[in-house]
Assembly symmetry: C2
Homo-oligomer: 304 residues x 2
């Protein structure tokens, strides 16, 4: 049996761990809070695309179990925030060959984990999903749900194939990719404009942002900066992707970005993972990205 | 006796018209609303630098008086907004040689008036003042108050000298300048960063903006763009002005910008006069100003 330790209990953790339970995996959780409620009540998933379901979990820890050798995978679904430190959570040493899947937002997030645990396989995952955590263990899955998973430092990757099969076996459309770095830049191309703009404009949804000609132009400028940077980073997202994203976003249900939901709930925003890391990569490559710089500065002040 | 028709009844109009009354001028008002209250109660000025005072006005119009020949000056203190149209207010024809002083914010605002009334002297004025309108006729003048006035299309200008003398005679430090275009760029160098940032960050004051290293950097980037543009426009503000403004803003009382006050009160913001015109001048000069472009786009969406 495939045994997984999930970090976090937000929308992504609750939803995808639940599907892995359906696929026959044994899933334990490490959470920062609410372990008692989660153990007692389990997770209640209200999913429009996949149907509602409920599952209970036997082991929910608030401190990392000593014997990590019991696990086949660590699934990291924590928010990517400066004060959430994997080294402090998992410790400096973990069993060699215990793979870690990062199902998180942002860019440049794999390298620090790979440096911290050089003997472990690091996998990188991208979820294209609209899902919110309503309360402890209560998750609302509104739309989409596709996963893209790739190994960051192994080729070929046995564990990656296995995960893709597990997810697909329970109806989560999941693809294995050899170009996860490019896939991450591609997701950033969408996140970098829509997430910050939605917050800085007092809470506009995706369609409102595109319907205003000025902010639509700004979206395109930011996407262009990400495109140029992806090329310099050796993982070019083709510039045709900009039009594809604009069309896709115009036709999909208007929705509030994850950063806007975080902001409205008074939670910290993933400013560094999405924008700060982008700026640092641009600096390494001597590229000016003034549009992203501007929204990064504004968000920093907004949150301060 | 010097006879003036003031347009508007906001903080600038009420304060400076009151000083002109003290200087012995006959002042009438054209206002969009509240003419009855203003006529009955007059203006009550609470001024920290100049002392409190009250004045009454005989003539307050809601439609422009037919005989504009009675006046020696039109003092335009209206907000610079797209839906406030001088042609509609004053009509297409006004007596030749009736000068108009624009005591308003923004850049590129004199030329349209000069084109509309080619036979009239257009004066341009800049107020460095912290003053708020609390209610109809009630104005709170917190700090500063200096004026800079220059003729836009006459050299030498008799009326400009006369105005400078009138203001100085009642303790309003006023200087006559032959380089009003440069003075306007200089004021824009301060307004272009602080006004929009204060709004986009959920209401920060000038000191909070400078104390955050990210937004302080953004202030400098925006000031640099204005500096470059002033040079291309033939009215260069020296780049040393950037440091002067930073030091000055750090040491002066922290305060909320006029754009933030407008935003908080639900009034339209002077986005076009301050940023839209700047972008249009940059486009004419083939200059990219991405930091200003970004905040302009965000403000547009914010207000939509």
């Amino acid at each position: 049996m495939f045994r997984i330790l999930v970090l976090g209990s937000g929308a992504i953790a609750g939803l995808y761990a639940g599907k892995l339970v359906q696929a026959g995996c044994k899933v334990d959780f490490w959470v920062r809070k609410n372990s008692y409620e989660l153990k007692r009540n389990g997770f209640q998933i209200e999913s429009a695309p996949w149907g509602n379901f409920h599952y209970k979990v036997e082991k929910i820890f608030e401190s990392i179990p000593k014997n990590l050798k019991e696990y086949d995978l660590i699934l990291n679904c924590l928010k990517c925030l400066p004060d959430i430190n994997l080294k402090k959570i998992l410790g400096e040493k973990i069993p060699p060959n215990l793979p870690i899947l990062l199902l998180q937002n942002g860019i440049g997030i794999e390298e620090p984990v790979s440096i911290l645990y050089p003997e472990n396989e690091i996998l990188s995952g991208l979820a294209f999903v609209c899902a919110n955590r309503l309360d402890a263990g209560k998750i609302l899955h509104l739309d989409y749900g596709e996963l893209t998973i790739g190994s960051w430092n192994r080729n070929p990757s046995f564990i990656c194939d296995q995960l893709v099969n597990l997810f697909n076996s329970v109806g989560v459309p999941t693809q294995n990719t050899n170009t996860i770095r490019q896939a991450r830049w591609k997701k950033l191309m969408w996140n970098a404009p829509f997430n910050p703009i939605s917050v800085l404009c007092g809470g506009k949804n995706t369609l409102e942002i595109l319907e205003n000609p000025h902010s639509c132009k700004l979206v395109i400028e930011i996407m262009k900066e990400v495109q140029t940077l992806s090329k310099l980073d050796g993982a070019e997202v083709p510039s045709t992707q900009i039009d594809i994203f604009l069309q896709m976003t115009k036709t999909m249900k208007p929705y509030k970005t994850s950063m806007l939901l975080d902001f409205e709930a008074g939670r910290p925003m993933e400013i560094e993972a999405i924008l700060g890391n982008t700026i640092r990569i641009a600096e390494k490559n001597n590229l000016e990205i003034p549009h992203i710089q501007t929204i990064y500065s504004l968000l920093n002040l907004y949150e301060s």
